[in-house]
Every structure is written in C-alpha cells, then in structure tokens.
C-alpha cells in the first residue's frame, strides 16, 4: 500500500527538547535537540523496524511548510535506506499550511497510483501553538481517550454511503505533544475537508505534564510499536479448500465490514474457505470493496550458525513452549524453499486457476464472500500471484442473486445415466425482465424511430407474397403503436392511402395484393374499434 510521509517543516519544528538516551551502563545522557531531529529519529527507527523484506510498502517522503512550500524529497520507493538518508537533513521554512499539504499528497498519490483503494498518509507534525482557526473546545470533550477502532469503522461507513469513493485515503498524525482537544478537532476537520478518513493520532508527550519536556528512547519505541502495529498491514490467514490447506499472507489487511441488511459488524475470519469456483467470464469483474494480494509464506531461517531463537514478548505470553532454544536449521535456502509443503496448495490453486480461467469463490465470514483469481503481472510474464477481491457482505452483486444459491456443476447439471461428468460451460440464467435494449419496443419519441418502424412495414409489403409472417408482425406492431400513442385515426387513414397508392403504382406484386387489401380492411375495422385487436390470418 502506498504511503506518504508528510513532514512538517514549519518554524515550530525548531523548538528544542531535551532528549535522554540511556547507555548500556545505565548512564543517561541528555541532549538538547530540535523537534525536527526528533522526527528524523522517529522515522529512522520506524523505517528500520518496518523493513519488510517482501517489499510490500512503497513510501514517499514529502516536506511541507507554507501553502506553496511543498517538496517531494523522495519519490515512492521500497528502499528504506533512501528514506532514512533523506530524512537526516530536515530544513526549516516559515509558514504552516496543513490542508494544502494534504491536498497535495492526495493528488500525488492519485497521479502515481490512480484511484487505488487503500492509500495512507502519515503526517508528522506538532500541532501545538497553532491557533489560526480556533474551534470551540466544548464540543470535543471526549478527546482524552485514544481512538476506538469501532468508531473509525462507523465513520468510514457513513462516508461510504454518502459518496463511495471518498474514503480511499487514511490519514494518521504523529505529534510530539499530545494535541489539545481544539487542535485535535482542527486536525479532524482538515481531514474531513480534504475528504480523507481520519485514522489515528500518536504522540510522544502527554500535554498534562507541561513541565516535563524530556523525551526518552523508550517513549519513541512505544510510539513506534503502536504505529507499526497499525501500519503493518499483513494479515496471516489460512486458505482452505476441502482438506487442502495453505497458509498465506493477505495484504493489505481485510478491514471489518458492515452487513447492510442487519447492520452487523463482521470481522474477517482467519480462514478463507474455498466454496467453489466460478468462471471468470461468468463472474465478470464483480466489484470489490477491496483488493488484496495473497502471498505464500516463506520461512526464513538463518542457514549458518545455529542461533538461539529469542522469544519475543508476545510469543512468550501466548505459548510457553517456544521460550527456549530452537533446533538447528541446517537446510540450505533452496531446499527449504522446495520443502515448504504449506505452500503446495497455494501454487496448485494458482496454476489451476490460471489454466482454467476461473476464480475461486471464498467465504471471508458468514454471508461475506470474495473471489480469488490469478493475475499475471506485466513486468514478469511468467510469474503470477493470487489476488483476492473482497465483496461487500451480503448479496450485493446484482448478477449473482445469491451466493448461497449457487450449486456445484456436478449437482446442477448431473450427468445422465451414471456416466462420467463432462464439463461444458453453461450459460447463466437470464432474469426474466423485458429490457428495452434486448426486446424491441415501440419507442416513438424521436421522429426517426417512428420512421424506421414504418419503413420496415412498407418494405415488407413490397415483398409480398413472400415473408407474409414478417409483414403481419410489422403490421401488428404498428397497429399496437397506433393505439398506445393515440394516433389511430390519422395513422390508419394515411397508411390506407399509402397502400392504395402503392397498389396503383405497381409497387406491390400481383400475388401480394390480396394480403394488402385484407390489411386495409382490417385497418378500417380497427379505426372504429375501442380496443386493439391483433391481426390474424384467419380473421382476414
């Protein structure tokens, strides 16, 4: 997911702080550093920690200050070293205009990636000392709490309803001090103005302790872990198809969604279960709320010296078994790659879907479906990935009336008398509804529509006695039209004249004359009738 780091370079960033680093021997050294170097430190440690080897994140660096003082320092890259390098020399400019900076970042994202669904902006700023546009503090009393995820989801959803495409960009703010409630309201307000969705605010210092202006390394680390857990967008999941299973990384994370019919909030399940398959030409680019790439998981263990595996905090709590030394991993990389049995099913699915031009219908949760298809990438023609499209929960795809009412081929089209099943692509049933473009309706709104219908009719008369059926069909159409549009007197009169003229000028073959005369008589009868009566051969 593309992310822009938007860094405040206004004068306020030159404010000094004391920064305490603890050495290993518990000796604390205090440095007096500017806010901007603090930001640089945060980004540096953020980058070193999110150095994901899978090249998932692509990050750009933009400095901003005043309305026109915006600079792209680093174009989108996957190389975190470049980012760290560029962030070392943060300049200071005068002004501060957050809104134009966010607008710019949004534009930058769309220029580079188009209207992608998930994009992120991370703003590094310190929002204190700014009162350029004060907002009543009293209305925002609840800002002392951290954000609750639920709330975020709801706001997202509301925005989705009003206009589908507005919430593609998530904005988070990283502040040095905790923003006051008015500052916070201002940030939220700007976010709303720029039509992004407000995600979270992180801060280093609590505002309450005004005197204490020291920052320690631990404080930075705390913030980093918070940001990381939000920004790390990988979701480990199990793909299951009957007895076949594979473990994979879903990127970006599947967000919880709301089932419209009940208003229930659905969490994505850890298991993506294959329910069956649908041909790509039948699913026809069904619209998705989000797209995700599915990657097989490759475990990397250091091939050379057997190293003790250090238990991290989380794993120690959850499982006591992994707290001691690990077995030696002496297999070389290549053999490891091949022996990674957990990925076999992933590849099998990938190749099969590619060959069959099919998609797998998977359930993310109850009543929540998605489709997996295989996508070739233009850059490397031989290599493909599985892409997951997550649909809106419920049955929201107009041409698939209900997911639960899809049945497998073997049961929908059972083979006759116990023979082997032979697959043959079948047409999906067409909803019986008369559409104006699939059936011919008499639309006489425009002059040429009417003219065409008349032309067809008169031309058919010239071909008589051949194709009598067509002539009668056209006749019935015109006569019905005359009744619908309240034209009968004038139209029948004119048509009678026309046909008589046609007979006189020998436009109609001698054998056909009797048909035309029948029709003239029929029209005579019709013009005095209350109701439209269909012309039939026998009635003549």
């Amino acid at each position: 997911m593309p992310t822009i780091l938007l860094i405040d370079c206004s004068l306020g960033m030159a404010e000094r702080f004391s920064f305490v680093t603890k050495q290993q021997n518990n000796m604390a050294t205090t440095m007096n550093i500017e806010k901007r170097s603090l930001v640089a430190k945060i980004i540096e440690s953020l980058m070193t920690n999110t150095n994901s080897p899978t090249k998932l994140e692509t990050i750009a660096l933009v400095f901003f200050a005043g309305r026109d003082t915006i600079k792209i320092v680093q174009h989108f890259t996957k190389n975190t070293d470049d980012i760290i390098k560029s962030v070392q020399k943060l300049p200071i400019f005068g002004d501060f205009s957050l809104k134009s900076a966010i607008d710019f970042a949004k534009k930058y994202l769309t220029t580079t990636f188009g209207g992608q669904r998930s994009q992120k902006i991370l703003v590094f700023t310190d929002s204190s000392h700014r009162d350029d546009d004060p907002i009543k503090e009293s209305t925002y009393n609840n800002s002392n709490q951290m954000d609750i995820d639920l709330r975020k989801v709801i706001t997202n959803d509301e925005r989705d309803k009003t206009s589908l495409s507005n919430s593609t960009t998530d904005i988070s703010f990283v502040c040095i001090r905790k923003p006051s409630s008015s500052d916070r309201a201002r940030l939220e307000d700007i976010t709303e103005q720029t039509q992004c969705s407000f995600s979270k605010i992180y801060w280093l210092l609590n505002r309450d302790v005004e005197n204490n202006t020291t920052i320690t390394n631990e404080m930075i680390q705390d913030v980093i872990t918070q940001i990381k857990s939000d920004i790390m967008d990988v979701f480990i999941s199990i793909l299951k198809c009957g007895h076949y299973e594979s473990q994979l990384a879903v990127y970006p994370k599947i967000k919880p969604a709301i089932l419209q019919t009940t208003g229930e909030l659905l969490q994505p399940s850890n298991t993506l279960t294959v329910n069956g398959f649908i041909e790509l030409s039948s699913i026809r680019s069904a619209m998705a709320t989000s797209k995700h790439i599915l990657l097989p998981i490759q475990r990397y263990t250091r091939p050379q010296p057997p190293m003790p595996m250090f238990a991290t905090k989380k794993s120690a709590i959850s499982s006591s078994s992994s707290s001691s030394t690990t077995a030696t991993a002496n297999s070389s990389l290549t053999t490891q790659k091949k022996s990674n049995a957990a990925n076999n099913f992933y590849y099998l699915l990938l190749i099969s879907l590619k060959k069959e031009k099919s998609a797998a219908l998977i359930s993310v949760n109850d009543q929540w479906f998605g489709a997996i298809h295989c996508q070739k990438f233009e850059r490397k023609k031989k290599s493909s990935r599985l892409i997951l499209s997550v649909f809106e929960p419920g049955d929201c795809i107009p041409w698939i009336s209900s997911f639960e009412r899809l049945g497998p081929y073997a049961l929908v089209f059972p083979p006759a008398n116990n023979s082997e099943l032979v697959y043959k692509k079948q047409q999906w049933p067409v909803k019986p509804f008369a559409r104006s473009y699939t059936e011919t309706f008499l639309i006489w709104c425009r002059q040429n529509n009417f003219q065409n219908d008349i032309n067809k009719f008169v031309r058919a008369s010239a071909k008589l006695p051949d194709k009598v059926n067509i002539f009668h069909r056209e006749l019935n159409k015109i006569c019905r039209g005359a009744f619908i549009y309240g034209l009968r007197d004038r139209l029948f009169h004119l048509l009678r004249q026309l046909f008589q003229h046609q007979i006189q000028t020998n436009k109609i073959k001698p054998d056909g004359i009797k048909y035309v005369q029948n029709v003239i008589m029929y029209m005579n009868r019709l013009s005095s009738s209350d109701r439209y009566i269909k012309y039939e051969e026998t009635s003549a």
Binding site: K71, G115, N275, I297, K314
Partner: protein
Amino acid sequence: MDHQRNKAVLILDHSSFFARPSGVTFNVNVQNSDQQQQQQQDQINNENTLGMKSLWTCIVECVLEYCRILFDIFEDDALITLIVTGIDQRDQSSCWNRYKNLSQCMDFFAGIQPPNERSLINDDDLLKHSLNEAITALCTRSKKQNIPNDLDYTNSGHIILFSTFNNKRIATIEKDAQTFHQSHNHMALEMTDFVPLTKCDLTLVDVRPLDQPIPTSNPEFNLITSILHRTLYYAQAGQMLFTRMLQILLKQHNLALTTVTGIPMKEDVASRSSLNYDVDIVHPAEVHHSLRERAPLKYWRQIKDDVETIVLKWSAFSYDPENYYDTYSAYRFSPLDVNSRESACLTNFLLSGKCVLLELGNIPNECAVNINEYGDENCFNTSENDLSSLTTTTTATNRLFSHMIISHNQELMIHAIAFGSNNPMSKIGPCYIVNDEKDNMSINDLEELMDEIDDDNLEKDLRVESFINIIRTTTLYPLETMTSGKIPIEDSLRLLERHTRRCPLLTNETILFNMPSPINLLTSLILREKLSDDDVSKCLIALKYIDNMERNGEQLPVPNNFQYTTKIVTNKAKKDEAYRFLWREIEYFVRGYKETSDSHRHIYQNIVDRRKTDIENDSSIYQSNKIDFIFPTDETSSTSTMITKRDKNLQENNEKMNGRVWTEFNDIKQVVSANSLRDMWNRKQQEKRAPEFDGRAEYPPPRLIPLYVNLNSKTSLTNPIGIQPILTTNISEKI
C-alpha cells in the same frame, strides 16, 4: 441498493385541450435509397403522407420514455404509477405492483381512447381527483415497505402532472395537494396500511403546441410546505418536451448521462456517414464519483441539447471478458436513444459477451502533480529499482481507463474501475518472508528467496490436471429451484471435502493416480456417493487387474522422482516397493470413503482381505498434504463440520504442548512461534511416544499426578487403618 427508492406518479390530463394538434408532424412516406426519385415523390406525396400528432400523443411518447429508462435501470425497483384523469383505476392497493415493466405501461395506454375534442364540464374536478389518487398512491406501501419499520419515515415521492396551467389553476392545485397530503399523513398515523409521505415533489409540466411560445425555459420553484415542493416547467411539444422530461428524470432519480464517443462501426463503403459514432447512455449519477477523485467533472463535461453529459472515449484496449478488472462499483445503464442504429450496435456488441473499457481524456495539468517540478533533483535518491516506477508514472498519465461497460446475463452495466495502470501490487515479491526479528537477512539471501518462481516450473510438480477436474466439478451455477432445507453452496463444500479427502498434491507422491485404465476407474468411482452394482464390480475388476499385474511383474507408472525408502537399488527391489506402496495407497484411499455406503465398505473389505498391506494409522501417506502447523476449528465459519479429523493424535499432542486456543493472530510472530522447527520436532517426538497411561490420562494437562493424595487430608489419629504414618516413619528411619 437496499434502501427504498423514490416513488413516481405520473398524471396525464385527459381533457379536451390535449386533443389539439401539437404541430409535430409525422410522415409515413417510405424513404427510398434512390434520392432523386424520392425528392420528386416527396413533392407529390407530402400531402398524402404527412400527419399531425396531437398533444396527447406527444405526452404519451414522453411518459413512456420516462418509464423505459426507469425500468431499464431499476427493474422491479422502479416504482411507477400512471394516472390519466377521468380514467378509473380500480384497485388502489396494488398500485406499485401494477406496472412492473414497460409493456404493461404500454398496455395501459393502448386501452385508453385519445382525449375527446369536446370539453367536459368537470375537467378540473377530475384533475383534483387524480391528484388525490396520486397522493394516496404515494402513501401506499410498496413491496419493500410491506412491514412497518424505520424506513417508513423516509418515504418520498414525485408527482409529475402534464397539463396546461394558469396562475389560478396552479394555486388551486397547490392548495389541493397540501390538503390531501396533510389528511393522508394524518391517516397514516392511524393506519398501518399507509406510510406518511415525508418528502414530495410536485412537478407541473405545462405542455403547449409548437406555435405557442413559452414564457421561460427555466423551471419555477415554490415551497408549499417544508415537505411539499412545487416545480413548474414550460415546454412545447416535441423535442423540447422530451428534453424537459429528461431533465426531470435525471434530477428526480439522481441519474446522469455519459457519452461514449468514438465507437468504431463497420459500415458499407457506399455510406456517407463517418466511421465513428457517439452513443449517449443513462445511468445512476454515482458512476461519475470516481472521476471526481481525479479532478472536477467540468473537464469532461459537455452540454448536449440542454442536458449535461460526461464524455468518455471508447477504447479498443481489450474486449476480453476473462480479465478480472479492478472495479468497485457497477450500475445498470440504458442507451438514451435505444432504437437507433448506433445504440443497437453497441448493445449487441456488449450482449454478445464482450466488454469495453472507457477512457478518460487527458487529465488537466492542475489536477496532477508534476514530480519533477516539486522534487529537488539533488534530493532524489533513486535506486535502480525505483527508476522503472518513475518512468511508468509519466506514461501512465497518458491513458486512463475510468469505466468499463459490460453485460451481465443480458443486463447492461457500467463499472467504475480503480484507474491508473501503475498498480503497486505488481511490484510485490512472490512470497512473504518470515524471519526472526533479531535475524537480519543478508541481501543475497533475500534476493534468492525473492526470486520469481516460474509458473511452468511449478506446474511440473503439481497435480494440476486432477485439481482442474475438481474445479470443474465444483464450478458454481445459480440454482433456480431449491430443495427445501438444503443450501446449494454447502453441497459444493461437501463435494470439495470429498474430492480432496485422499488426493495427493504432488505428482511424485502417488502411483495410484497415475495408473492407466481400468484402474483409474477406481479413483473416480469411489468418490461417488452411491455406487451401483455395476460400479462395484468395476472397482473389484480394477483390484484384480492390479493383482494380475503384480503377479506378471509388470512395471508400474512410477513418477520420475519418486522417493524410494529402500536402500537396495536393484530393479526388483524397487518394483516390489512400488507395488507395496501402491497397495498402501489403495488401502488408504478407499479407507477414506468406506463409511459412505455399504458398497464402499464392501470394496474396502475386499482390499483388506487381500492382505497386501498392514492397516496403518490414520495419518496421511502423502507427506506434502500434511501441513506443518495445526489449524484450529474455526467456530465462526459455517464449515466447522468440515474440519478434518486428520491426525487426532497430533492434535491432542498439540493441545498438551501449549494448550492455547487459536483465536487471533494478527502478529505474525505468534504464528511462527507456534510452528518453529522445535515445535515440529517436539510434535514428532510426541507422536512416537507410547500411549498415555490411563491414570495419567484422566488428569488434564500438564498431567501431573499428585502422589499421596490422602497425606494431608487425613490425620493419623483419625486414620482407621494407620498404615500410612507407620510407613512414613519406617522410611524416615531407614534414611
């Protein structure tokens, strides 16, 4: 899609005024291809072939077009009621079910006589009555409103009244509408059959013949009450009336126009017309939202006959419906001039199954970021990897596909595409690498891991053909009739379960699945739920056949890199092992299905009776089907019944080991830690271990059995037997 749509009532004045000629003519003359002759004929025949439409005809044409577009786009959701003054509507309660499609609307008009030229005295009363009828209809429940709920308070509707007006008449109508509306809302409070009308637009269209000028082309607005709004349009019959109708339609139902431009069409050489065509299509206005993300709509907007339209270019980029495009919304659309040749050509093209991408003209400069302008070149640390992305950015701006038009089961749809060809996903590596945090990978290692895996290489090892068969069996199709109590998609899950139960993933792990006819019948027949006697005998023949092969010493189709366990490399030893493996495979395979029916059990018994193989434990013989980690039974998923009972021991052992429930693993480390090599090794060890003693098994993990349970609970004094204290003293003495 789920919320209630606006209701629309159209009232047509049937008074004598509308019998008047409109000034719009029609011609029944045949257009000949021979131009000169036609011109001569025109002069002779014009008098005989020209007719004049009445005002009534013009209005009916417009109303039907209004209905047509609504039905095309909203299908059954298009809530339309037609009222003609002085024509009795018998059944009020079903007014929202009466007109379900266009031909029903047409039937309605076909049954109505054109207005009489002599005026009636009570025309105004009839109009008033129709207005009352219209408001009653708006307050009546539609199909979606049949149960009273919160949605009742979002009931909104439109009344369009085609008539002729003067100021006095307008005032009367406004007053009447207000009275009716209030009385109905009062009624709605007391009766559940009625829903209160929370928003109502009263649109008056003053229709005049062509020779009468209109005072203004702009609509006049008036707020009667906060709920009831009145709009007045003036229109001359013919084209102007049609334009007004379109404006009203777009506004009321939040629709918009798109012009698909530059449609290539094959044309006979003699024709004068150009090769490219434009087709206007109508669709919900939401379709254009995605464009706003890029730039204001004004850049692509054009005014055509007083109606705004967004111009998008037809692109011949791809017509392949087997691509999966990145779309995130889809709406029905309908051609504006449906019977024209151009529209018919477009719709036929789409209905034949093709899809077309629509391209956006260039993005204006001020809406895009010029990277070079904002970037300071000295600051760019562009590594080689990123250079490619830089170049693509500049070229990507040249072509922007914003929409796609396609037909789904004969319905025309327009999709919004997530546009921009620079897909960040395309640069993501082929796998996700997990490593330990402290363990920094060298770049070389990383690159080796990130090597693109060639699809063709993969294909060789995997049993793709057999999986494709499974895919075909479970390709989903909609079922129209449903047997009660059965959910069709669960049948598919059951099928998948059955087909994958005993099916190897890799080619080099199986002999059975490579066997030629008639043995391959075994693998396909056993999968069936019911076996006929014929099927059973076929299976038994297959078994006999293998027996014969073994006796004759025939070679088996052993895969190339089959892992032999035998150390002896002679051909005979290998062949023996292959047969042994084959029998094991057969036994394992059939055992998986023996519970399906008596016939299955019969076949299995036959295999056991051959005593070719020991009955082994229930773990899979296909190593690659076994996964290194244990999966939880997922309570939330509907498939919990499907969770395999595979490796019961293994699961039990796992429980003993960490006893943790697999609830959530957002953190990847958690997953890894549970599946480290050490864990796998531990599990292996557990498997080998002897079964648990009964005594120990009674206790929950970690199975510590307290010794001397009674030691503390019973004191020596109360102890009737008194052995225990003595025993302890004895021991202490000995020590």
